[in-house]
Amino acid sequence: MTETVMVDSARAVDWWAVVKEAAITAAIGLALTVIMVGLRTVESGGGLIIETHLTEVAWFVVLVFVGRAGMALLRQGVAVPVLVVSLAVAVGCWFVHFPSSVLQLLAFTAGAVLAIRALVLARIHRSPLSAQERDQRMDRLGARFQDAARYLGPALLAFAAVLPLLPFADRYIIDIGTLALTYVMLGWGLNIVVGLAGLLDLGYVAFYAVGAYSYALLGSYFGWSFWVCLPLAGIMASCFGLLLGFPVLRLRGDYFAIVTLGFGEMIRIILLNWYNFTGGPNGLTGIPRPSFFGIAVFERSPPDGVLAFNDLFGIPFSTLQRVDFLYYLILVLALIVNFFTLRIRRLPLGRAWEALREDDIACTALGINRTNIKLAAFAIAAMFGGFAGSFFATRQGFISPESFSFMESAVILAIVVLGGMGSQLGVVIAAVLWVGLTEFFRDLAQYRMLAFGLGMVLIMVWRPRGLLAHRDPTLLLHPRLTARQRQREAENRA
């Protein structure tokens, strides 16, 4: 390894090739920009005149030339000089006056990206480890983290449980916590399909939507209470899971993903167009709020014969009571999903899911009916999605198809993938990061998606299998077995 590095760095840089490549790219850049950027029609007096912006074009061409030269040099193994120059560009561009802010942003992005790539390259060169060794080291790190997770999990849970009681927890914090927990629950639900069974589902939000509309419609048409509708919404979503499952489970890999994507969109478009039933783009308003298990309601002056929550406990009324209640409700729902997943991983069905993810042909060879266990994964995950959906509906009091766009599916999937497929704690961390960071970067307005994208790229570079990719065996040394083994070994020794 060290030898190859030396050979690499000793290799002479082919400057002619670098200049040629950069010049060709710059020429293409010139051809593209000279008309689109260089000439602009401006209204002046009674007519249009053509204004020339040739300085912008020149800036652009220079930037393209430098950037491409940097890329070519990186490919030839020149890391440190490129790193220095690109960092200088990324930082320096904020102090130089650019003819337009677009150019400035371009210079910054290009500089930053090149700097990151140069850094990665420099580290690979310096490190005496092979890629495999680095992977193993990461795995060990993950395993150590997983050990820490044994304490981190309960600690996080305890924190989540007392959060509404903490002094700094105002309505804003609780709302964010509720949102984060909703994503945690959705992430855990989708984790069953994607993380355990290894089926890439791009339309999970469909089940979320089915759950939300089930409750909203049942609640507002029949006036049924949340506690009756919650299981119904789950069953309903589960039925849709089976409905989708039957035709698509023959498909594999990419084809499967595309069909689920289509299914998710279909549900949204039906909701959008079935105006009489779903209210179309206007959505459904006035969705009933949940009661305190049907005993009391969260209102200052409840109708006659109905108990108010604050009277039930003899405490003063506060609007926070309902917010806190919703927070605990989603916490409990999410924990049910978590508990279910942890349990089922130890049962034949859960293990069959994992085996299916590892190698589905081997699964058939072992006598597993693939269709049935895939359907089970689908239906169960859909049910949890339905629960989350009906919670969403009752919390918002208003739903419309807009809340169930593909973007939501993508976010939930990103949470599962970035957290480390199949890792329960990874999902929590990714969900909290997602909700936390989007809130934190709220000032960036539409650019916060850019920050999210950058985060995703970084995780894919450094942790390609997700934040916590380490898989915990479901039965590490069966206690019963070890006891007997120990006994047998003792006998052997005797």
């Binding site: 293990r351 085996a355 590892e358 190698d359 058939t364 072992l366 065996p473």
Partner: protein
Amino acid sequence: MTAMLTVSGVKTFYGSIEALKGVDLIVEEGEIVTLIGANGAGKSTLLMTVCGSPQARYGRITFEGRDITRVPTFEIVRRGIAQSPEGRRIFGRMTVLENLQMGAVTARAATFDRDLERVFTLFPRLKERLSQRAGTMSGGEQQMLAIGRALMSQPRLLLLDEPSLGLAPLVVKQIFEVIREINREQGMTVFLVEQNAYHALKLAHRAYVLVTGRITMSGTGAELLANPEVRTAYLEGGH
């Protein structure tokens, strides 16, 4: 008395390509039968056709007298045919124990411990590696696991697809030793598909030679081993 496994006139297609052009063979109870042939002769296709994936388009396959030609794969396993598939296909991220447990999904839970013990007797190495991730083991150990996993389903017929693939000669010898042991000690019927003709023929009671989808020769292992045609085609330049 019918044979344990009979394959008669089986033709299997991949799309319009005829991979098996009418194959007949039988495996009697308690035998080790091997099928040798060159790359692409259709050995694995035949083995997979017995398992019902892909299913034979023409012909008939019976197991213990019952027709299994159109039975779905998972059901065939439940009837008592286990296979160690080509390329081993163990579950890499799961532990050895979990892999063995997956093998036992169709078996009765009551006998799990006994079956596990039996696998450990055959492959003591697996016992040492019990909680190791299967993907991190050596090729030979993975092959042992693949055979052990197949045995966990309490089969009456064991199908092995190229257990020697990519293994060092010493390990190959070891694996074949164990196959002989499984057959002798447990009376297991074994149908073995191999490219390593020398070892396979030495091990087998009877053997078939498959050439581009057709059985061209059959006989006892020793007969084929002595056959000049087999020698030139499959045994020259090695061993």
